[in-house]
């Protein structure tokens, strides 16, 4: 019997993703976390984190995130080029009798250090970004921020998700757009995925991609339809055809748009949206409970 059954409490990690950018991932995850009150919000969109702009967290603590990159002792290097040949990322070159390291393309695999027969290579830390932890009312806010010019936020996402293993709390993970490695890393430990879709040709194309992604990783999931207008909804049609659970619909609505563009949390501002997101939260919670009891 799973542990949570003994205590009656469930530790739910819910990832919110979309494929296409700008469909409303942050809108949904921020407002669900706010509706849940005692919850955790993690912003894994480390390239463009926005959740903190809504929550305006207080008592922010910051931790710098760094990766290991090689440095060379030119006295010890004998120019054998073993490291240059080994590196699959072309992060090292031997030019004019000198070993040069290109920090920006290094993937921190540590291979060059292993292959150097002269022990001329050691590692140093390179800062790539930071993780912030703060609070807004009862919501704990975690934000990952990648420094501009850095290629990969994966180490920051890893840190964000491992730092955060508080139990008995609902956790909402705001994912980056796309379907690449950063998204995969963000949903890796999620118990449930919410796919946010918009009713456009682009929206449906990209919904199909993340639909394939969550299936590939065997994640239980459902769809939230955002920016819904009267008439035919391409995203809804897609869900019906594929027999995908629709968790809720958010109307296209100028008032919500304005609140959101001013980085206001809709559930704090208007009873109508509080009801909408509370209902969505209920549906999601039931879905997750159902999934964790049937497929623990």
């Amino acid at each position: 019997m799973p542990d949570f059954m003994d205590t009656g409490a469930i530790n739910m990690r819910i990832a919110v993703l979309s494929g296409k950018g700008g469909t409303g991932k942050t809108l949904v995850s921020v407002n669900l976390a706010a509706a849940a009150k005692a919850s955790t919000y993690i912003d894994c969109d480390v390239e463009e984190p926005n959740g903190h702009l809504f929550f305006k967290p207080e008592e922010v603590q910051e931790k710098v995130i760094s990766v290991k990159i090689p440095k060379v002792d030119h006295e010890l290097c004998n120019g054998c080029r073993k490291c240059v040949d080994f590196c699959k990322f072309n992060a090292l070159a031997y030019i004019k009798n000198k070993l040069i390291i290109f920090d920006d393309v290094c993937h921190s695999c540590g291979g060059c250090i292993l292959v150097c027969p002269q022990k001329a290579l050691t590692e140093k830390e390179k800062v790539i970004g930071k993780v912030q932890k703060g609070a807004s009312e009862q919501v704990a806010i975690y934000t990952g921020i990648l420094n501009t010019g850095e290629a990969t936020g994966i180490p920051i996402i890893k840190k964000l998700l491992e730092e955060n293993s508080e139990v008995n709390k609902q956790t909402f993970i705001d994912c980056p757009p796309g379907s690449a490695c950063i998204v995969m890393e963000s949903i890796k430990d999620a118990d449930y995925c919410i796919l946010v879709a918009e009713p456009t040709l682009f929206g449906v194309h990209d919904l199909n991609m993340v639909y394939e992604l969550v299936k590939l990783f065997n994640k239980p999931f459902g769809v939230v339809l955002n920016k819904c207008l009267e008439g035919e909804n391409l995203a809804e049609k897609f869900c019906v055809e594929k027999n995908i659970k629709i968790l809720g619909q958010i109307p296209f609505d100028n008032e919500l748009g304005t609140l959101n563009s001013n980085a206001e949390i809709a559930v704090h501002k208007n009873e109508k949206y509080r009801e909408l997101f509370s209902a969505l939260l209920n549906t999601v919670t039931k879905e997750v409970q159902h999934e964790t009891t049937t497929n623990p």
Binding site: H205, D206, L216
Partner: protein, 291 residues
């Protein structure tokens, strides 16, 4: 050939809508979609020709031969990407594996081989006149930056010197964006008048500045928040960045896109505004001594 790249930082601000309109207005002979993990430009370019498809190989992935493995654990201990796990046997998680080759190197019995792996698909449309290069990254794959470089290389090698190439970029500021920035002549940033949009725009402007690329800004859906629109214009003025136009929110734009049309194919307010942005962009891109 002058290359124009369209970026935004934040997703969904209208990069592809604007790129497709530009392609139409310029009657562009070379264009590409560098948003390899969520490409959309092909949905709206109205091409009837079949693309030539080629598999894109990223770095090879490690594979462990259980017959030879002595369970010494060296591979697992040295893997920086947590890609090796022990269940009944030692196994490589091909999604986590970055292909660095460290495990193959440290394995004392030669049980690990690096196997070629398809990481995506490149597509090239070429009808003798117009070249369109695009790609689709495989789900959950890394190496999107390398694929972006391939998309641009494919476009350049197929196109005759046409004077202008239009490239649709990806959201964010990470590896695919950095790869798309290299070698382009100008970046047009499509901003959105929201607090999130402003924050993201500032980060993409900083990123483009690191590469010394000429940058201009326009605002899409400007009338959804006039106050924020003014903030963006003020920001551009302070930074000395050319601000080249406001495009209104327009329901007909959504309709056009859903019919696979660009916003300049129909008569609509956003289409009229984007024409003006297009002309200003071309003036900046081709201005003399503006390097």
């Amino acid at each position: 050939m002058k290359q124009l790249l369209i970026l935004s930082g934040k997703g969904g601000t209208g990069k592809t809508t604007i790129a497709s309109a530009f392609i139409k207005l310029a009657d562009a002979k070379a264009y590409a979609d560098c948003d390899v993990d969520a490409p959309n430009l092909h949905l709206i370019t109205g091409r009837n020709d079949e693309p030539v498809k080629t598999d894109y190989y990223g770095l090879p992935k490690a594979k462990i031969n259980p017959e030879l493995c002595t369970r010494c654990d060296q591979c697992r201990q040295n893997c920086r990407f947590d890609a090796i796990s022990i269940d009944e046997k030692y196994e490589v998680d091909s999604f986590a594996c970055e292909g660095c080759g460290v495990c193959e190197y440290v394995c004392p019995v030669g049980a690990i081989t690096m196997m070629p792996a398809v990481a995506g698909e490149l597509m090239l449309y070429s009808d003798g006149e117009k070249v369109f290069s695009t790609a689709q990254l495989k789900m959950g794959s890394g190496t999107s930056g390398m694929l972006v470089t391939e998309v641009k290389r494919q476009m350049k090698s197929a196109a005759v010197d046409t004077g202008l190439a239009i490239i649709d970029g990806s959201p964010g500021i990470g590896c695919p964006v950095i790869a798309s920035l290299s070698g382009v002549d100008m970046v047009l940033i499509v901003a959105e008048p929201s607090i999130s949009g402003i924050s993201d725009m500032e980060r993409i402007i900083k990123t483009a500045a690191k590469f010394g690329t000429k940058t201009a800004v326009c605002i899409n859906k400007y009338d959804t928040n006039i106050e924020n629109t003014e903030k963006i214009e003020e920001f551009c003025k302070k930074q000395g960045l050319p601000f080249i136009g406001r495009i209104p929110f327009d329901h007909s734009a959504v309709k056009a896109v859903n019919n696979g049309q660009t916003i300049v194919d129909i008569d609509c307010t956003s289409g009229t505004a984007v024409k003006d942005v297009y002309h200003k962009t071309m003036n900046l891109l081709f201005e003399k001594g503006g390097e």
